[in-house]
Subunit: 522 residues, 2 copies
């Protein structure tokens, strides 16, 4: 999670020896000579675009210039030049290219300050909210071109806005990094995603590397390059590689795990020597998406729940303290944990009527529990959780735990051997690890082993843009990953069945939960 | 002069393992994996343009493809891909970018066959026949853009014609190489040549390297790259570097010299260990440009002259055996040599009236000699050479010899130590070394030491386009050259004065000439 990086994007202010009859080196080579000791190379590529302007610029600035370099895999590229006394920031742009939301962050590369950060809806939502619809659309006549234009135009508009919000110009952006899943990255580059969703699920490219912003249609400085995060395959994209970079797992001696919690759980396990990854469906229940009262985080949404140990009254904390209107994923996990720890549901997740008081109701043969009565809710109705909601949540948490157990045992380790458990994603930031442990969704590690990464995709993209040699590091991370295909075989099903209990059939795996429950039972 | 080259442009036909669930490597990396053993690298850059087409092409061709690669300084670039059963030639284009004439040569890169060769007038002549006028013009408003468009448009038209002459399409050209002098190269790239002609004479770039054809506006395959020959400075351009490459001087153990004879004499001396270059004005007389009857080579132009040793009658050979209309450079040197060897002019180059018979005339106090009487000429007038013409020729030949002597002595050598004397340029091909030695323009080396290179600029450009790693070799040649500034100091003037005699004040330097003359004098 360290953001410290000594290999900062290389910005060098140099004074060139002005030309003379004794030293008639050309302008370009004169510049390269002045900075080559900093780069330890003689090979610096200068675009024709800049070559055409170089003689005028060098003379106008009296041979005192500030240069911006980016390292491609095997060569340095001069991506910008300003007067040495120019005080306009040399900026970088990090992009988290989400399927739903796109986040832009503008960074002052000389000071590492964040100048602006803006989120906008991915304009491709107009085509379809999900990836599949968009991929099918891009197979239609001109579809790929149109869907590519949607995201490129959207980005350009947002770049314009973000820049004016921090008083810079798009032209001041000399480096861009983009982290997104494999499909979003393909659509961003205008690459045909057709084969990504068809067996055997082949991307066009795994390691796109550095591409000219101009070629991609991104309106920043015409010399700027775009670092595009690589993918391991269709299911393990650049957003996760960015997350790994951001977590620093690949630099630690101890073995850590990184989980991006969501409908699809993407998991990475490893250390500086090896990395294993897998992805599997955990179910939308974890995001609060299937319950009646489930909704995305926002004002009035319950994000934290506790139960008064004496009155058994539920205390629901809402975002911005508004009257409760619904519940988000983290609230739901808290709720299930409380219900379980206070004996309101049993180890199968079924309501225990004797413990529910008058909160347990029945409708059309389905039991439900009133979390917030209509009198206290922001909707005028009871906020409820049904037995079906709970069953669904338990299947999701069981799937999550099974995936974690499977990947860990695939390398002959046990979950308790993990030194750090990184939880990525915005949703991951809100989860209370104690609750997730209580229901057996996450392993029973010391609570301080859990580290929320927040938007790790954006974090990784930011690190890349700040570094002068990130491409090799990112490539190395990507190449080090062994992708584990999750086979839903008998062993997996056995694990899943055992995990469908709260917290698990094997109580010894969750000593802290046993302890909490035992206190209750005394 | 060797054209043999084992590092041919890399064209590889490969069969990729089709993707499977067990092997889901992306299309791009699958291709790179299939050819990496041939290139001994994992880093092959593929343009976005090609990435966008790759999935369709690989599947259409059933994973059997022919790939074309070019090596940049530090990386390989995939510049083309065809079906493995495609029989259309993979072509390269070599360009000799002359100030007056531009020569295009299309090469089939798989067979090394020359498919077409065409010459056209540099369309920039419309702006001005000489470099200076063009440089001044390019300083006007939009001048650089206009003069750049002239050559680019001209090239594109000629590429179109040349391609249709050999039944290929411009799209079949995957590599281009361009050799021209420093100013022409600048105008070709759209680089401002302003500072090239102003003290201290600084080019924009010495080593332009590889540039995308598309960026330069050249209409060939959109993935093609253009190799642009580097320069040492304003006076020693890419045409000469190409000439060195073509001559192979930089690979020989013995010391050779290469001379591009013309108004400006460009000279290179060296071997595989070192290279020294200089350039100096030799005067237009060597090209036949100042004499009354001087003209460029063409039908009816005298290119060879002998004198009947008995009758002293001049035998003039004309191009295409038409009645003589004028004389070109090689003919003029033959003429001067004959006049001298037969005693018609003395060692100062002055007419010896007693030896001239009735061919010597006088007009306004200036003596002249009738080379071809009006009755035999193709113009209806006498073809004559005046004393002033001879004086001018002698100044030019003296300048040439002095330059040769100066560069050779700068490395502590003498002209007689040279193993090979390469004469470059079309004009160089026509010079009779015996005549040039007779007047003391070239040193008295065995005649078979002289090797005419013909269009060595085009020859070098052809070699570059055929090689898979020429850029480093060309860079190395360029970097190895020490440029010697010719100071017109007392020593130079002393040498010049001595060389203003026929063949020289020091007869011992020209034993073969002394021998010829002595035969005559007996």
């Amino acid at each position: 999670m360290t953001e410290k990086n000594n290999n900062k994007t290389l910005i060098k202010t140099v004074s060139l020896t002005p030309p003379s009859l004794q030293d008639n080196t050309a302008d370009a080579e004169r510049l390269i000579r002045a900075i080559k000791s900093h780069l330890r190379t003689n090979t610096v590529d200068i675009d024709l675009y800049l070559l055409r302007r170089l003689p005028g610029l060098l003379r106008k600035w009296n041979y005192n210039v500030r240069c911006i370099f980016l390292k491609d895999r095997t060569r340095w590229i001069l991506t910008g030049i300003t007067s040495s006394i120019d005080t306009i920031p040399i900026a970088g742009l990090a992009v988290d290219l989400g399927t739903t939301k796109v986040v832009l962050r503008i960074i002052d590369l000389s000071t590492d300050t964040i100048l602006a950060e803006h989120t906008f809806d991915n304009p491709q939502i107009a085509v379809g909210p999900d990836i599949l619809t968009r991929i099918h659309y891009s197979d239609q006549d001109e579809g790929l071109k149109k869907i590519n234009r949607l995201i490129i135009d959207g980005l350009n508009q947002m770049i314009e806005k973000s820049c004016s919000s921090c008083n810079i110009k798009p032209d001041n952006i000399y480096a861009v990094s983009v982290a997104g899943n494999t499909a979003m990255t393909h659509l961003f580059m205008g690459l045909n995603p057709y084969w990504i969703i068809r067996e055997p699920y082949i991307p066009v490219v795994n390691k796109p590397g550095l591409i000219k912003a101009k070629e991609l249609g991104i309106n920043v400085n015409p010399l700027a390059r775009v670092i595009i995060f690589p993918n391991v395959g269709s299911y393990f994209g650049g957003d996760l590689i960015a997350g790994i970079l951001f977590s620093g797992i690949d630099k630690k001696e101890d073995v850590s795990i990184l989980v991006d919690v969501g409908t699809n759980a993407e998991v990475l396990l490893g250390n500086k020597h090896w990395l294993v990854a897998c992805a599997g469906a955990a179910g939308p229940a974890l995001e609060g998406g299937v319950t009646k009262m489930g909704m995305l985080a926002g004002p009035g949404v319950i994000d934290r729940i506790t139960i008064d140990p004496v009155t058994f009254n539920i205390k629901a904390h809402t975002i911005e303290d508004e009257p409760p209107k619904g519940i988000c994923g983290s609230g739901l996990i808290d709720l299930a944990a409380c219900l379980f720890l206070y004996g309101i549901i049993d180890i199968r997740g079924k309501f225990v009527p004797s413990m529910c008081g008058n909160r347990l109701k029945d409708k059309d043969g389905m039991k439900y529990y009133v979390v917030v009565p209509a009198s206290e809710s922001g909707t005028g109705s009871d906020l409820i959780i049904s037995q079906a909601d709970l069953d669904s949540l338990i299947r999701s948490k069981a799937a999550m735990y099974t995936i974690l157990e499977t990947i860990t045992s695939s390398v002959g380790m046990s979950l308790k051997d993990l030194s750090t458990f990184f939880v990525a994603g915005t949703f991951g930031s809100y989860i209370n690890p104690k609750s997730a442990i209580a229901i057996g969704m996450l392993p029973d590690l010391p609570v301080d082993s859990y580290k929320a990464l927040g938007n790790s995709s954006l974090g990784g993209a930011t690190m890349a843009i700040r570094s002068n040699d990130c491409l090799n590091e990112i490539d190395n991370i990507r190449d080090k990953i062994t992708y584990l295909e999750l086979n839903v075989n008998q062993e997996f099903m056995n694990r899943f069945s055992a995990a469908k209990f709260l917290p698990h059939t094997d109580n010894s795996l969750f000593p802290s939960v046993k302890h909490s429950r035992s206190r209750l039972e005394t």
